[in-house]
């Protein structure tokens, strides 16, 4: 199985070398840093580290950056993608387990959840409340995962094809899970341990968190009114179309 590790970054120069070293220690496959128009020299540092660098000329949002990684993986014929954040929150040690479950469990997406085992970084209180609300909302609309905002995912080609077509620009995880589920992708979860981010600050402030919350709730509710996306790999079965 050819695996591409996709790391979306935005101004992560202080962390990028450590992230790449940590991923390299675990993964033998290729690593792609998708730099979302950083002002600092994240992209240059990643190039110097010898990984694949896909650089956005301007900042679009993490969802778009991840999607660029998906497009590259599809274009280059990779069988699976592991999405890892560029701020050291995701311990790369879990990558093999994510991939193993992707292969053995017949899942199209495996989400690393920090709440299944309740260990490690559990996010701040306010954000946890937000995540809980999104979780309830997600359950209402049909994606039963304990950590719908986790960005620590493994995906196979089927899921990549769906999300390469549609993925929101910012704060994409909850909505993407819903889109993928509705398109017939199987989603599984795996307990992971997350850490508080390394150097620098999160790109999401307090006021923005509130805005994203409302945006995601609206997006998830509207998503139900859209026609389902259909991946090409498995033909649609018995839905009268």
């Amino acid at each position: 199985m050819r695996v591409l590790v996709v790391i979306p970054t935005y101004n992560e120069a202080p962390n990028i070398a450590a992230v790449l070293a940590a991923v390299r220690a675990v993964v033998v496959g290729d690593i792609a840093v998708v730099d979302d128009g950083s002002d600092d020299d994240t992209a240059a540092l990643a190039r110097r580290a010898g990984v694949i660098v896909l650089r956005h000329p301007c900042n679009l949002g993490i969802g778009a950056a991840v999607q660029t990684g998906f497009l590259y993986a599809l274009q280059q014929g990779y069988d699976a993608v592991v999405r890892v954040d560029g701020d050291l929150q995701h311990d790369p040690a879990h990558i093999p387990a994510l991939l193993e479950q992707l292969e053995s469990d017949g899942a199209d997406i495996v989400v690393g959840s920090r709440f299944l085992a309740r260990q490690g970084y559990q996010s701040t209180f306010v954000r946890r409340v937000g995540i809980l609300i999104l979780g309830v909302l997600g359950a209402l609309v049909g994606t039963r995962v304990t950590d719908p905002t986790s960005g620590y995912w493994a995906l196979n080609r089927r899921a990549l094809e769906v999300l390469a077509k549609f993925q929101p620009d910012d704060y994409p995880e909850t909505q993407s899970l819903l889109v993928a589920t509705r398109a017939g992708c199987r989603v599984r979860e795996l307990p992971v341990v997350m850490q508080a981010r390394g150097a620098g600050r999160s790109s999401i402030g307090a006021l923005q968190s509130g805005f994203y919350m409302v945006k995601v709730i609206l997006a998830v509710l509207i998503e139900r009114l859209r026609p389902r996306l259909r991946p090409r790999s498995r033909p649609p079965t018995g839905t009268g179309r």
């Binding site: 998708v34 694949i52 660098v53 896909l54 650089r55 956005h56 000329p57 301007c58 679009l60 778009a64 999607q67 660029t68 497009l71 590259y72 274009q75 620009d169």
Partner: protein, 119 residues
Amino acid sequence: MYAHGLFLQAMAVAFSVLLIGFVVEAIRRHHLNERYAILWLGAGGVLLALSVYRPLLDWIALSLGVSYPPSLLFLVAFIFLLGIVLHYSLVISAHRDAIRRLVQAVALLERALEEERAR
């Protein structure tokens, strides 16, 4: 009709003509796409008609049952502006989507070029 009423009417006509002239000139200089100009030309035309022949507004308002004709003008203007702003939101969303696809294509092309040069 009062003298200042006439002055106001002249101002209204002049304003409408200026608006239409500005829009036509903007189209001619390629500053304004015809697609979006139609709305503004339409608005300018309606304004001109109403200010040239003032009883028109009174007649329309009264036949719709609006007792104070100028309020009809406000209502129509409000609906028109709301429509234009909503239309722009749609256009901006479409542009955002197009920009994303373009940026992603640039990123992939840059990578392909890099690989080509390394060979």
